[in-house]
């Protein structure tokens, strides 16, 4: 019992600040390194019975269309050869995935033994008690491969998708593990054109004032000084507005849904200013930026038409790929800009993966083995190397070979280590709240309303929805 508690403290340094966390991570890395040097890991690995569940068929449900499913599909033959198990992967797009997941999680028995869920839905799915608690699996050397290394997962990503305190209904609190970062994680980083900045004698922006000044200075007929997601898109509020908002001192929500005082601060001065900053960029942004979603911005940057933007770090792969990008050798990355005195940070994105509580009990241990296999260091490295998918393990970000190949990984790691979880992800209405924000902010960018009106409208609609849902008295 004592050992188990000790193991939990070691594996999940929840109450630690960032410095403690990094220290713990370093210690874990050192320990692993020392063990590896003396061949102890290898010995454990050799002793581990990979074939103990041979003949079992595992059904995995995960998102399709984001690259991870292709990578997993590549690895199925290797998995089946090593474990003797078979695996069937179902990978619908996000919308159908959510529906299918909920249908299975709410059924008497889930047809899927392992399910991947979006981090923003952790409260909805893990908080509803649908997933198996994993601490006993993690701590059991008979069930968990010795080199799986739970402590290697990025801690903010783990807190975002895996740790949940059922008593208080709070994600990221306590030491109970219900999922691990599965498929990809990630945050937003700053992308800029090194050649344009050098030619103009500018330094990459560290503050939003510098970002705006660079946008103004670098705008030409061929190149937009800056871009952002201006379309009515999932990431308009989550990446562009939210990053500006929190790095100029904004706090999205105050209070707690459980005490019914969960109040939004969208119409705060910081909220209005964050949106106004985007409106002020319109003269220097691509002409059609209000129609720019994810693909348009990646295309625009890769074809050399955008000088700088903040964006999901996951696009670094295609942007730095000479086969897909005209600016592969001209692009630089860095932390997102922030006001003086503020920490550069952005939103925590990513996926979790877990075992449904109502999965076939006879297959749960086999499902856990499959889960550990597909979230191992080796697989994570493969995801980064082959598809440039955002890593969720520290070792993948710091792998010398990968780092030499993809220099942006250092900035991605910094961003992922300081990423901030979306406060509204604590409640199941998260997606609906986000939709309201995207629509109103898109309207403001289209010139239909000003920033103050847009933020005020979001505030009113959010408060109304929070009251109806019982999160605000």
């Amino acid at each position: 019992m004592q050992d188990k508690q000790k193991g939990q403290r070691l594996n999940v340094p929840m109450a630690a600040n960032r410095r403690d966390m990094l220290r713990a991570m370093a210690a874990l890395g050192l320990t692993t390194g020392v063990l590896g040097k003396f061949g102890i890991s290898a010995a454990f690995g050799a002793d581990f019975d990979w074939k103990k569940y041979a003949g079992t068929k595992i059904n995995l449900l995960m998102v399709g269309g984001e690259g991870d499913d292709r990578a997993f599909a590549d690895l199925v033959p290797e998995f089946e050869a090593q474990t003797g198990m078979t695996i069937e992967i179902t990978a619908p797009a996000l919308g159908p995935l959510i529906e299918k997941s909920l249908q299975n999680l709410q059924a008497p028995q889930s047809a899927y033994d392992v399910i991947s869920y979006l981090g923003f839905l952790t409260t909805q799915q893990v908080g509803a008690g649908y997933y198996e608690q994993l601490n006993s699996y993690i701590d059991d050397p008979g069930l968990t491969p010795p080199d799986w290394d739970f402590g290697d997962f990025l801690q903010p990503a783990l807190r975002n998708v895996g740790i949940f305190d059922m008593a208080s209904g709070t994600v990221g609190k306590g030491t109970d593990v219900y999922g691990v970062p599965g498929t990809h994680s990630g945050s937003a980083i700053y992308f800029y054109r090194k050649d344009l900045f050098e030619a103009a004698g500018l330094q990459p922006a560290k503050t939003w004032d510098e970002f705006h000044a660079a946008a103004k200075a670098l705008t030409t007929d061929e190149v937009a000084g800056a871009s952002f997601i201006g379309a009515n898109d999932f990431s308009l509020a989550l990446v562009d507005w939210f990053t500006r908002f929190i790095t100029i001192g904004g706090t999205l929500m105050t209070g707690d849904p459980h005490t019914k005082d969960f109040k939004p601060n969208v119409d705060s001065p910081e909220g209005v200013r964050a949106l106004q900053m985007m409106i002020d960029l319109l003269p220097y942004a691509p002409k059609n930026v209000t129609k720019y979603g994810f693909a348009e911005n990646v295309d625009g940057f890769s074809t050399g038409k955008i000088a700088q933007m903040i964006f999901w770090s996951t696009i670094a792969g295609p942007v730095f790929d000479p086969d897909k990008s005209l600016v592969a050798d001209k692009t630089g990355t860095g932390p997102v800009p922030a006001d003086e005195g503020q920490t550069p940070r952005a939103i925590q994105g990513g996926w979790g993966i877990g075992i449904p509580k109502n999965a076939d009990p006879a297959k749960k241990a086999a499902a856990w083995l499959a889960l550990t296999w597909f979230t191992s260091k080796k697989v994570n490295n493969y995801l980064v190397d082959k598809y440039q998918i955002d890593a969720n393990r520290t070792s993948s970000f710091t792998d010398p070979d990968l780092l030499a190949k993809f220099p942006y990984l250092a900035d991605s790691l910094a961003a992922a280590s300081s990423a901030e979880s979306l406060a509204t992800a604590r409640i199941p209405e998260c997606f609906q709240l986000n939709d309201v924000m995207n629509v109103e902010f898109n309207s403001a960018l289209l010139g239909i309303q000003d920033a103050k009106t847009a933020c005020a409208k979001v505030q009113v609609q959010w408060e109304d929805m929070l009251r109806k849902a019982g999160h605000l008295a």
């Binding site: 919308g95 159908p96 959510i98 529906e99 909920l102 709410q106 909805q124 509803a128 379309a231 009515n232 691509p286 002409k287 059609n288 209000t290 129609k291 348009e296 295309d299 625009g300 038409k305 409640i427 199941p428 209405e429 997606f431 609906q432 939709d435 629509v439 898109n442 309207s443 289209l446 239909i448 849902a469």
Partner: protein
């Protein structure tokens, strides 16, 4: 003395005495089972759902009576979606009927080689709406779309097809017309081919000109086909979802959010299953009333057009 033998009861194909009730059950049974399982049960299940607050948040959901319907009536987003659906129906169907009839009249001239053009004209109708949406989204892309590029070649500035709230719904209507005008044309053209020639010959003898002939003879006789095509297209346009999904995703600023897309958002994005079911039933009610009125109008006499 011999008694006349009673006629043998009719036998079924299986050689057993025929039991009409059993035969009916055997023949209709599979069909009834299919209908109950895949039509009637889902219909009643979703109706029941619309009276609950079932959602991802609330789980199984409690019975809330007419609350979802009451909420719909005061939800400005529902009325916005209803307005967009109404615009889609009125504009799309109106344009498609005018163009469809015009095309039918044109092809009825049987010009040389017109059969080839007629075949090509049908192609959009054969495409999946989601593909049509994505294809037009690419064609109208303001940065690299073929259509904007072609317009710029002429020295003109292309419209903001999908970027302005007012223009986006017009674009949606235009793309819908591109795909479905051939359907109206096909129905009207088939009817046109079947019209009796003697009436036209009589009109010609009486000295009726082409405009009078069209207005007083052709159009009234085409009216049942036009109404049929109109009702069919109106129902389809009212339920328009996949085109919206592929082309504009309901934006900008909810300018192209139709009722189907609104129901999709609540059902699949926000997981408010009860509310989404209520939206679907509100659509069913509107459609039932609308089609009843239109079909009543369709009961016209071709001779008089009334």
């Amino acid at each position: 003395m011999s008694l006349a033998a009673a006629p043998a009861p009719p036998r079924s194909v299986f050689g057993k005495p025929e039991n009409p009730r059993r035969t009916v059950l055997v023949l209709l049974g599979p069909c009834i089972v299919y209908l109950v399982l895949f039509s009637i049960y889902p219909l009643f299940h979703s109706l029941r759902l619309s009276f609950t607050d079932m959602s991802a948040a609330a789980g199984g959901g409690d019975w809330v009576g007419l609350k979802n319907y009451a909420d719909l009536l005061v939800d400005p987003l529902f009325w916005n979606a209803a307005k967009n659906s109404a615009i889609m129906v009125v504009l799309s169907v109106g344009i498609q009927i005018v163009l469809g009839v015009a095309l039918a009249m044109f092809f009825n001239l049987h010009l040389k080689g017109s059969w080839i053009v007629r075949g090509i004209l049908m192609l959009p109708m054969l495409m999946t709406p989601i593909v049509v949406g994505l294809m037009w989204r690419a064609l109208l892309n303001p940065d690299w779309g073929l259509i904007d590029w072609a317009i710029r070649l002429t020295g003109l500035e292309p419209p903001d097809w999908l970027g302005s709230v007012n223009m986006a719904i017009v674009t949606l209507v235009l793309v819908d017309c591109w795909q479905w005008t051939p359907f109206v044309f096909l129905i009207v053209f088939a009817r046109l081919q079947a019209l009796p020639l003697d009436i036209f010959e009589a009109a010609n003898v009486d000295g009726a000109g082409p405009i009078v002939t069209f207005r007083r003879i052709t159009l009234p006789m085409l009216m049942p086909a036009i109404v049929f095509a109109g009702v069919f297209r109106a129902v389809d346009a009212f339920r328009s979802f996949d085109l919206v999904f592929g082309l504009s995703y309901g934006g900008p600023a909810r300018g192209t959010t139709t009722l189907s897309f609104f129901a999709f958002q609540h059902g699949f994005q926000f997981q408010n299953y009860g509310y989404a079911a209520a939206i679907a039933y509100a659509m069913l009610i509107i459609l039932s009333v609308g089609t009843t009125v239109m079909l009543r109008y369709a009961q016209i006499r071709p001779e008089t057009g009334r």
